[in-house]
Symmetry: C2
Subunit: 433 residues, 2 copies
């Protein structure tokens, strides 16, 4: 039985797919919080690389991937698609389960796909230094890798509780040469304000974003965001394009595509090209977005304009939100602890294209352990949500004797999250339902 | 420029290569320590799977890989060969540097190749439970993965200092379902004897081997060793066979093959098939074995019969040894802290086929950081010794304007060893020269 579907280097996509070309009606624009008026692209270029801002609003269906970015992608791309034969056997299901393995990247997750692109555009536009935030650490390590590859300085504000609990992610960020500061910090007004109220604040992604943006604006650096925005999802579409070619190699077409969703970029990167392709072929595909019950942005949040950060420094985005002051419980899937959502994913949920589902971390880890024991690869806690969603589908197929082809967006491995597995295996993981 | 050389699943080797068929004179046999007489294979089957004991003395040049073992190998094999283009650029060298990436295995190192084979033979021979030891944790996690895949119980004695310092490796071993005990323990005579003398003993690989063997003998379990023995090197020869096919894809032939050496299995697995092939082609290849100056088994040890463990429970093997009571300094490359050597590698060093070299961990980490920054992938501290050896060769090529094709045995990634990089980057890593 074929288990691995590899593409060769020459099959690396040369263009990103831009879903903005194919939406029935345009997305609502970002608003300036002071005027409530649509924000001009120029206002955004104070913060982001000009090319990224252009991509944020472009309606070109395909955007060329610069050769220098392709060159760096080739350090690990194309990533493999695996068929989870042992998992199918363990579940005794007629379903065929495939997973697109983004854990193959140097930093172990899909985040490098946009990190390299953003660092590249900043480099050619003359940026000397970037700032960013990181929660679980996947984004911080991906951007530090990319900045190292392209010769840009980087300052990372790392949510303090992660900084203390994930010393290996911190080490990885430092190994790639970035400067790292626990957030909240004394470096920014936003950080000092939080510390004045609570000197022991564990921090949050919202606070760290505020600090990174403030520092960029105060020092003439640029800022880089690892999810949510249109151009970030755009850069991730290499995932779905490769996956389509690999499913073709396998002689199958996905009936269901499942991913985990924090800000929406890994899921979007996988499903958007498949949505485009399936519509062209007149095929029906289920797109299932898994989030934690502890941070139920799509399943319990409302859709409205909200800030992306805690200190209200970002533009207003129309999206699913739990409110920008929402502090989710400290579940192990740090990458899914975000109050907001990519406006593109929000739109697809509103349109009924994407089905959101929420899971408790206990059921998620139960299936993640089963997956690791069957397939060897250990899912990151975030990815474990996608795995659990797929396993639930496959169990349903077994009950109904239905052969369904399921494709999992496997966003990353869990090598830096083993303490979560220790907590689960020793019975210390709590339900947050 | 081509960077990745992937084989497809159908190119997975179906046979292991056995160098015992091609030695000019047979290896000296293991001796019974009580009688100093050659040990009968029967005596070894009390401890090891019968098929492994047969393979230990077989002189068949090729031994078929059982289909069930191939099936599990296909979860991650064939592993990629990468050309380190960015590293070549960073070194400004005319050398071409390739690396065979065994970090692609589920547990992140080459150890799974023999773990699966040993677990399989034990399974079909009726073994219900295995015991083993682990130092750095690579072997313990590999065997726990293999035992999980094949449905055998496993007890791992983990060197206490690693048990405490590497909670993520411990978590991985537990995730795959093995029982784990810090060594020295109260479970065995050997452990109790050590604790009676030093209740705070940090343990050593030699002590942990004693405990695992004693427990196997006392409970009717079998024992499994992750390096040194002939059959272990045999199982690793999938590495070198794949690498030859991949170098062929690259249109090159290695002039130099470098690996790190603790017990000798990853280096042997890579170089033995290439030695065989190069002799058939009449080609000269340098085989370079890198070890730490802190545990200079080949470069400073003597060749004589010695025990493999501290408590003198193993047969006597004729090998390079620093003495079985030798306790190496606590360097970060835990997998290279072993007093002995594979008898096969000892013979090749004696015959001048393999050149041993020893490096201090400071120079090793310096080049490992350079490698990670250039190529993205982070070498395990053990692997970093091979990387450093290759970088030294490539620097020499630059000085002499010589185009040499260098193939590195990249035994594993460093995701579970990030504290070593933190120590290096913060200037806390000490020279042990």
């Amino acid at each position: 039985m074929e288990r691995i579907f590899n593409l060769n280097q020459h099959q690396l996509p040369t263009r990103w797919y831009n879903v903005l070309a194919d939406l029935d009606r345009p997305l609502d624009p970002p608003l300036d919080p002071r005027t409530q008026e649509p924000l001009s692209p120029e206002a955004l270029t104070a913060l982001f690389a000009k090319t990224c801002v252009e991509q944020e609003v472009s309606t070109d269906r395909f955007i060329d991937i610069p050769p220098a970015v392709q060159d760096i992608y080739q350090l690990w791309r194309p990533t493999p698609v695996y068929r989870a034969v042992n998992l199918e056997r363990a579940l005794d299901t007629p379903a065929h389960i495939y997973y697109k393995y983004e854990g193959a990247s140097p930093t172990g997750s899909h985040k490098t796909n946009t990190a390299v692109a953003q660092a590249y555009y900043n480099k050619i536009e003359g940026t000397k230094r970037l700032t960013t935030e990181t929660g679980a650490g996947q984004w911080g390590s991906a951007l530090s890798f990319a900045c190292q590859a392209l010769g840009i300085d980087l300052t990372v504000f790392m949510v303090k509780v992660s900084y203390e609990q994930k010393p290996y992610r911190k080490a990885m960020i430092e190994l790639y040469g970035a400067e790292i500061t626990p957030s909240p910090s004394q470096r920014t007004h936003a950080g000092r304000a939080v510390l004045a109220e609570d000197p022991d604040s564990p921090g949050s992604l919202g606070i760290a974003i505020s600090e990174a943006i403030e520092e960029a604006m105060a020092t003439g650096a640029k800022y880089s965001l690892g999810s949510v925005l249109n151009h970030v999802l755009l850069h991730q579409t290499v995932i779905g394009q490769e996956a389509l070619a690999q499913m073709d190699l396998a002689g199958e077409y996905p009936d269901a595509v499942v991913g985990c969703v924090g800000g929406g970029s890994n899921f979007g990167g996988l499903m958007l090209p498949i949505l485009y392709d399936s519509r062209n072929r007149g095929r029906q595909v289920e797109f299932i977005a898994a989030e934690p019950t502890a941070c139920p942005t799509m399943t319990k949040g409302e859709v409205r304009y909200d800030f992306g950060d805690e200190a209200e420094l970002t533009p207003l985005l129309r999206m699913h939100t739990l409110g920008h002051k929402f502090v989710p419980p400290p579940i192990h899937a740090g990458g899914l602890r975000y109050h907001g959502m990519a406006p593109i994913i929000t739109r697809l949920v509103e349109d009924g294209v994407v089905q959101p589902v929420a899971f408790d971390q206990l059921e998620v880890f139960n299936d993640a352990v089963m997956f690791a024991r069957a397939e060897g690869i250990i899912p990151a806690p975030e990815t474990a949500h996608a795995v659990h969603a797929a396993v639930e589908l496959a169990r349903d197929c077994a009950r109904r004797d239905e052969k369904k082809v399921i494709l999992i967006g496997f966003s990353g491995h869990g090598h830096f999250d083993m303490s979560a597995y220790t907590a689960y295996l020793s019975g210390q993981l709590v339900s947050t339902r």
